[in-house]
């Protein structure tokens, strides 16, 4: 409220206040009785209303329950009202839970924020900010408590476990890397379309990791075309929309300064178990030799007084410091938010520095005149990352007791060949780190400049221009003279190699729009018309060479490399798109809602024959509880929405191309496709929103997607001279059921308990592929079958499974050759109990290893639970996730098994002698041995915070501090799972397909405990 509005409000209140005596005086017959009663029972109740931080709340509605009498709180949160003895007062305020208390003279009313679903205002995918109550489709919003109590380390990690229908799948644990985000499943059987990222209304092209979570006011998520049509040809995989702070909710003339520091430690949560036994000959001196014992049994124990994992992984210091200032001018015409944040996330590997990111933000909203408003958002991020990396085989394959810190023969640190029995010449990873340089430096500017002109009450015109500019530079140097693992004495040394790369991305958008918003009686209407131009340019150069001129790590110039070894290339692309959108929203008294949208989209990456597509949405909802009085039901809204959205082809997919390299034109590679289209997603979404008992919000949503014209790289006839062509084919279905329950279980002055539970179940099905069935690794993609089926080889347990074995000669039977061993597996009779004993595989009719169905990679369901408990000034918060089902191929375990390192398959040392098997038996790798159930229960976030309020500081004479919050935060503190790999949630993309595999890599199960302090003044 501005100062100008205050006299008006005071006047209205005065008028309202006068009405009661006027009304009373109009009833002369009762005057004396009332006067008598008033004298006995009437008194002036009063007090102060504050938020949970102790800050006074202005404009809170105070009503006497059961009457029309009421007032509002003033600037200092104070109120006074005439009441009768035992009257109860109801305090209500937008965004806060309603409080009822018995009236008294010195009331202290503390109101907590209302985190429930239906009170939220949604701005994504709609013509203008709309209350969820009036929404005819599903838009998720990360709750304020989640953002406040455990500010995520990134947008992606913040989203994990917060809403149904979203999967955030880490690809690695490297702080440089970003996870895969899936909204209501995959877009296609052949690609992993990622959601469209919008920041303050800007359709961006850069990394989500660049967003400083302390700047984030809220995050909204659209999961499918039924809501995403507003974003047209880029939105079939959903939309993540981030709104940053800009001080718009502050009182006039107020400036808030917040300093937050978070310091803690990160460490690796789970490492795959290695065998601590080996099968090598130990010589007289007790040294392990490279010779394998005749029995080939891994039952000789390593001296495990030293663990190589400990040399490599460690606790690392994680810090984040943020200074934010938000303010509002005395006139209320200007509000702003500026911040600076530095985050150092070194990861969990010793010697690596991880990522050091500094971000700056400056947001402003200013009324230039009565009708013109200027809005700007500016973000600048500088990021420095340590890109030194190793092949993680070097740690997974290493001797379990290898001493990575031992010196080399020449006395330099980190012995290049730390392993005695490791078979693959894996170098010491610490030597690699110590003797290489690799850094990345990136800079990003994201800016929005928006002018809004509102000449009349019902019309608003806007012009927005935005920029998203990124620049990155990186280099890698492996210097000349490094030791070779094959020559640890230094006789033969590395010749050195160097590479450097640089790229920049410039995206700018221009949006021009008009918003018509007018009520006709109870009929509220909004119409938005919008034109959007988007232009995204990318350019890169890369150079690499080897055989360096000098040793040492001081020089990172490409000039070091022998010119004959230089490999230089450059690349670039530009995507231009235009769109015209009209969206209509209407409701009748908040009872019946209707939404209709049409968008015409054109993009340069679509085939030249027709670059334009039309997308649309039609949605409707009915608040039944407004039409019929329903007991206990505050709100009951069935809704239905049907919409379309697309996914653009990748840049270059439509062109006919000739490949070039090193000064030569090589030949045709890609056949052009002038008919290439954007993939199309059609989604029907049906839902029911219920609010009952004033405490529970429930959202039930069913969605059915049909995606067609899917992007696919198709081989073409070889004789054309081309290898492949990008085409559209196939259909893909995704059906999801989602439930969100938000309950304000308890709410009193001192204690409040909010619980949010979400559940979802997703089934995906391949429709008509439009091409023969195919495989991607273990994933079989078959027409008209459920998506996610994993197949692989399996050990035989019955003689019936090996009857086609090629060793069975005419006249012989399987029984003549094979038998079942003491583990229940089929083996050759003549080898049982020998060092040559080995499993037989399940065979097909031709005697080849049969690929059998081993499970589906998609989970049966996901369940998330978020709890927030307030007790006095304490807040206890946690988010847990449970994934039930979903098979995952444990590639790390398989690779370790290849190298004789996996404990479960190789270690025989604890078994009775008769049960021990030689490596002919243990060194076998059917798919089934590594296909594991990836069900898990994960504690994603847990926090305990204590809030010292302004009042507490005032009591001790400190007036300039508004509050201090102290807290302890744990992230990913435990995972309960039977999956024996590093993380049941991680996934790997191979050839663009998420195919149910994890691979040996930087482990992603990283645990963090931090302490935070937030000072507000």
């Amino acid at each position: 409220m501005t100062k100008k509005e205050l006299p008006l409000k005071v006047f209205l209140l005065a008028v309202a206040g006068l009405m009661a005596p006027v009304a009373i005086s109009a009833s002369p017959g009762t005057e004396s009785a009332i006067a008598q009663s008033s004298r006995e029972n009437n008194f002036v109740a009063g007090g102060i209303v504050t938020d949970s931080n102790g800050d006074p709340l202005l404009g809170v509605s105070v009503l006497v329950v059961g009457s029309n009498a009421g007032t509002t709180t003033g600037l200092d949160g104070e109120f006074k009202i005439n009441v009768k003895k035992n009257d109860r007062l109801r305090f209500s305020y937008v965004g806060y839970n309603t409080v009822e208390m018995t009236a008294s003279e010195n009331m202290k009313v503390e109101m907590s924020e209302d985190n429930r679903l239906l009170s939220e205002v949604i701005v994504t995918g709609v013509a203008k900010g709309t209350s969820r109550e009036k929404l005819a489709f599903n838009v998720e919003k990360v709750q304020n408590s989640a953002l406040k109590e455990v500010t995520g380390t990134s947008v992606a990690s913040t989203l994990a476990g917060k809403m149904p229908g979203i999967k955030v799948l880490p690809t690695t644990g490297n702080p440089n890397d970003e996870p895969i985000i899936q909204l209501r499943g995959a877009l296609s059987f052949a690609s992993t379309g990622q959601p469209l990222i919008i920041v303050d209304g800007i359709v961006t092209s850069g990394s989500l990791n660049d967003i400083n979570m302390e700047d984030v006011e809220n995050i909204e998520v659209i999961k499918g075309a039924a809501a995403a049509s507003f974003y047209g040809s880029k939105a079939a995989a959903g939309v993540i929309s981030i709104t940053t702070k800009r001080g718009s909710s502050l009182e006039n003339g107020k400036i808030d300064v917040t300093f937050k520091s978070e310091v803690g430690t990160s460490w690796v949560g789970f490492m795959p178990e290695r065998t601590t036994a080996h099968g090598h000959v130990v010589d007289a001196a007790g040294n392990i030799t490279s010779v394998i014992e005749n029995d080939g049994i891994w039952d000789n124990k390593y001296d495990m007084s030293h663990d190589s994992y400990d040399d490599f992984f460690g606790h690392r210091l994680f810090t984040t410091n943020t200074l934010g200032i938000s303010g509002r001018s005395a006139s209320g015409d200007v509000n702003y938010y500026v911040s600076i944040q530095n985050t150092l996330n070194p990861g969990v590997i010793k010697k690596l520095k991880g990522v050091n990111r500094t971000s700056f933000r400056s947001n402003l909203e200013a009324k230039l005149s009565r009708t013109v408003t200027l809005t700007t958002s500016n973000m600048f991020v500088r990021k420095k990352s340590d890109n030194r990396n190793i092949n993680f085989d070097d740690i997974f394959y290493a001797d379990p007791n290898a001493d990575f810190n031992a010196p080399n023969i020449d006395g330099t640190p980190y012995k290049i060949n730390p392993n005695t029995v490791s078979t693959r010449n894996n170098p010491n990873p610490l030597y690699t780190f110590e003797n290489s340089r690799a850094e990345g430096h990136s800079y990003r500017y994201l800016g929005l400049y928006a002018l809004r002109y509102r000449p009349i009450e019902w019309l608003s015109l806007n012009a927005n221009y935005s920029l998203d500019f990124s620049n990155s530079y990186s280099y890698y140097l492996s210097p000349k003279g490094n030791l070779k693992v094959s020559s640890p004495d230094g006789t033969d040394r590395e010749l050195g190699s160097i590479s450097t790369s640089s790229w920049n991305n410039f995206k700018h958008n221009l949006e021009i729009g008009a918003l018509f918003s007018k009520s006709f009686g109870d009929f509220n209407t909004t119409l938005k018309l919008q034109y959007l131009y988007e232009d995204d340019k990318y350019k890169s150069v890369y150079g690499a060479g080897s055989k360096l001129a000098v040793s040492g790590m001081d020089n990172i110039s490409l000039e070091l490399a022998n010119p004959e070894t230089l490999d230089i290339n450059s690349n670039g692309n530009r995507i231009v798109s235009n769109s015209y959108t009209a969206v209509f929203q209407g409701d009748y008294n908040g009872e019946y809602m209707l939404d209709a949208l049409i968008r015409r989209d054109g993009a340069s990456v679509i085939g030249n024959d027709d670059m334009w597509n039309t997308y649309y949405r039609i949605s409707a909802a009915w608040n039944i509880a407004k039409t019929f009085k329903l007991p206990y039901i505050n709100y009951l809204k069935p809704r239905v929405s049907y919409g379309t959205a697309g996914i653009l082809p990748a840049y270059g997919a439509k062109y006919e191309t000739y490949s070039m390299s090193a000064g030569s034109l090589y030949g045709a590679s890609q056949m052009g496709n002038s008919k290439l289209k954007a993939a199309l997603s059609r989604e029907l979404e049906i839902g029911l929103d219920i609010k009952f008992l004033d405490r529970f919000d429930v959202a039930l949503t069913y969605s059915h997607k049909r995606n067609t014209d899917l992007p696919y790289v198709m081989a073409v006839s070889g004789i054309t001279g081309f290898s492949y062509q990008n085409v559209n084919l196939g259909e893909f279905f995704a059906k999801s059921y989602e439930v969100t329950v938000n309950a304000n279980i308890l709410n009193s002055n001192d204690f409040s308990w909010n619980v949010t539970g979400t559940w979802d179940r997703l089934t995906q099905r391949v429709g008509d592929l439009g091409r023969p069935d195919f495989q991607s690794g273990n994933l079989y993609i078959n027409s008209n079958e459920r998506y996610g089926k994993l197949y692989g080889t399996k050990f035989a347990r019955s003689l019936d499974e090996v009857r086609t074995h090629k060793d069975i000669k005419p006249g012989q039977t399987a029984e003549d050759l094979f038998t079942i061993n003491n583990y229940g597996y089929v083996v050759r009779k003549d080898r049982i109990g020998t060092t040559e004993e080995s499993h037989m595989y399940v065979l097909d009719e031709k005697g080849n290893n049969k690929k059998v169905y081993l499970g589906n990679m998609n989970p049966d369901f996901n369940l998330n639970l978020t709890n927030t408990l307030f007790w006095k000034n304490f807040t206890f918060y946690f988010t847990m996730s449970w994934q039930q089902g979903g098979m995952l191929f444990n590639n790390t375990k398989m690779y370790m098994s290849f190298a004789g390192r996996n404990a479960a398959l190789w270690d025989q040392s604890e078994k009775p002698w008769a049960a021990r098997k030689s490596y002919s038996y243990t060194n076998q790798h059917p798919t089934e041995s590594f296909m594991e159930d990836a069900s898990f229960l994960k504690m994603r976030e847990i926090a305990l915070n204590y809030h010292f309020t302004r009042k507490q500081f005032q009591r001790i004479g400190i007036k300039f501090i508004d509050g201090i919050k102290l807290g302890v935060i744990g992230r990913n503190l435990f995972t309960i799972t039977k999956f024996s790999g590093p993380d049941p949630e991680t996934r790997t993309i191979e050839s663009g397909v998420l195919n149910g595999i994890e691979t040996p890599k930087y482990p992603s199960d990283i645990r963090t405990v931090t302490g935070t302090i937030t000072i507000e003044f």
């Binding site: 080897s546 055989k547 022998n562 030249n608 390299s661 000064g663 081309f722």
Partner: protein
């Protein structure tokens, strides 16, 4: 008024600075040209030919071509330690029943990858020839130098069709006159027709070289200036034509039908130097099977069949290795009258199987690594071989043997047999059969390692039964399944029971 002027100025500045800042949707691909862009400028043809030379080299030697490496193990020249590229599928051991090629997968790289590579080259070459036929003129110093483009294009067209004729039983023949839109299944031609078109292109190259003399050829073709002059180009074309004729037979019976006089005519004017890329050279450095038989850590080895041939009196030189060969021990160092056992190969028992535990190739692994043709293997520096002068000479020697000139043939054979192997068992008075056996022995030891297809061609055509491909080995490649499917044809294949031959069960 001031405001209006300000706004007008702002608009003027904005409009004048908008050139290229805003764009229409017709975006040109500036980093990968299309065919029209490439072919419209004749001055780009040398670059295209340079690219084809590099592609040809990479196709024959590169690791990406899973069609070539199996030829090296199918012919027992190499033995794989690990299962990479399914090489173990084709490596023979005692009692093995070799399978047929699985030609039922549209994505399997074998034999699809090489088919695509060859047609990629053919189409570019065809486009160059068609452009010149339509009037494109390549000039040097303002003079028509189309003969350079034509001679090199014909040569490369001949090279590619030679290899296709040697490998595949059928091909689509695409020339500068082919209408690509009218191709049907009926255009599939037998290998003999492919051979004919290959020879035709090579003859056209030789003709131009003879007419133009020893001209300075284009830059950037085969490495080490091995195509630098008209004479060198002619010799290469002659060598290729000799290969095309001599290596074409699929069986020893077909070998007897070869026109050896014609082979002799070509081979007499063939290579005078080895065709080598001296690395480092980014365009020619390939990760080859040869490189992977390097002394340290290599997972492919010298086939035991070669070692058995070279060590006839050593009982440890076993081939085929028994299936139950003791996996925890290895074959002791062998003895051979041939000096090359010690110079060309390294005994590396420390890499015995299972060297670690993932190498389960003990049934066909050998303890010998290659110590020749792989000096680039360690650090990417040195010579990478494709064809050698010895190979060219031995084709000529074989033609001489088959046309009655044993004396000259033996002289050529002994260049390496005596000169490098210190073997003195073949003389001018030796029988043709003995000389032929010695010739193939030399071919396996001297020519079988650089390009893994060469020993495959030799083993299927050799008249020496002991040297023949083992029973059930495929002797040529089928048209890949994907191509057959595209043209509505049934899948077929080679190898397995269809190629069983009791004469070659070892």
């Amino acid at each position: 008024m001031k405001l209006k002027i300000f706004l007008l100025s702002l608009i003027a500045v904005a409009v004048s600075s908008c050139d290229d800042y805003f764009s229409g949707m017709d975006i040109k691909n500036e980093y990968q040209p299309d065919i029209n862009t490439v072919m419209s400028d004749a001055s780009q043809y040398p670059s295209l030919l340079s690219g084809i030379c590099s592609s040809y080299w990479g196709t024959l030697l590169g690791y990406g071509n899973e069609a070539i490496w199996p030829l090296g193990t199918n012919s027992d020249q190499f033995a794989p330690g690990a299962g990479n590229f399914n090489l173990k599928t084709w490596s023979y051991y005692d009692g093995m029943e070799k399978p047929e090629i699985d030609n039922s997968s549209e994505t399997a790289a074998f034999p699809k990858a090489i088919w695509y590579d060859f047609y990629g080259m053919i189409n570019t070459l065809k486009n160059i020839l068609a452009a010149i036929e339509n009037g494109a003129v390549y000039t040097e110093s303002n003079e028509d130098a189309n003969y350079k483009i034509l001679s090199n294009t014909y040569f490369l067209m001949g090279c590619v069709y030679t290899e296709m004729a040697l490998m595949f039983d059928q091909c689509f023949i695409i020339t500068e006159e082919t209408d690509m839109t009218s191709i049907t299944a009926d255009n599939l031609s037998k290998a003999a027709q492919t051979q004919a078109i290959a020879l035709d292109y090579l003859d056209r190259c030789i003709k131009i070289c003879n007419e133009k003399g020893n001209f300075n050829n284009l830059d950037g073709l085969f490495p080490n200036r091995t195509m630098a002059t008209g004479d060198k180009l002619r010799q290469l074309a002659s060598f290729m034509a000799a290969r095309c004729l001599a290596y074409f037979p699929r069986t020893k019976e077909e070998t007897s039908l070869v026109d050896w006089n014609k082979v002799a005519a070509y081979a007499s004017d063939a290579l005078q130097e080895d065709i080598i890329a001296t690395l480092p050279n980014n365009d020619y450095g390939q990760w080859t099977l040869v490189q992977n038989t390097a002394k340290t850590g290599g997972w492919a080895r010298i086939g035991m069949r070669i070692l058995s041939m070279m060590c006839p009196d050593d009982p440890n030189a076993k081939w085929p290795l028994p299936r139950d060969f003791d996996s925890s021990s290895t074959i002791p160092e062998l003895t051979s009258p041939d000096r090359r056992l010690k110079t060309d190969f390294d005994y590396t028992p420390e890499q015995r199987s299972p060297a670690g535990t993932s190498f389960s190739g003990y049934t066909n692994y050998s303890p010998y690594s290659l110590n020749r043709f792989n000096d680039y293997a360690t650090d990417g520096n040195g010579d990478e071989y494709l064809y050698t002068k010895t190979e060219s000479d031995l084709i000529y020697a074989e033609a001489l043997l088959n046309t009655g000139n044993i004396t000259e043939a033996v002289r050529i054979i002994n260049n390496t047999r005596e000169g490098r192997g210190d073997l003195h068992d073949i003389t001018a008075s030796s029988s043709k059969d003995d000389a032929m056996r010695a010739l193939y022995y030399e071919r396996f030891v001297e020519c079988g390692f650089p390009y893994p297809a060469t020993p495959f061609y030799d083993r299927r055509r050799t008249p020496i039964d002991d040297f023949q491909l083992t029973s059930r080995s495929f002797r040529q490649l089928p048209v890949p399944y994907y191509e057959l499917k595209t043209y509505g044809l049934e899948s077929y294949t080679f190898g397995g029971e269809a190629d069983a031959d009791s004469r070659y069960e070892f």
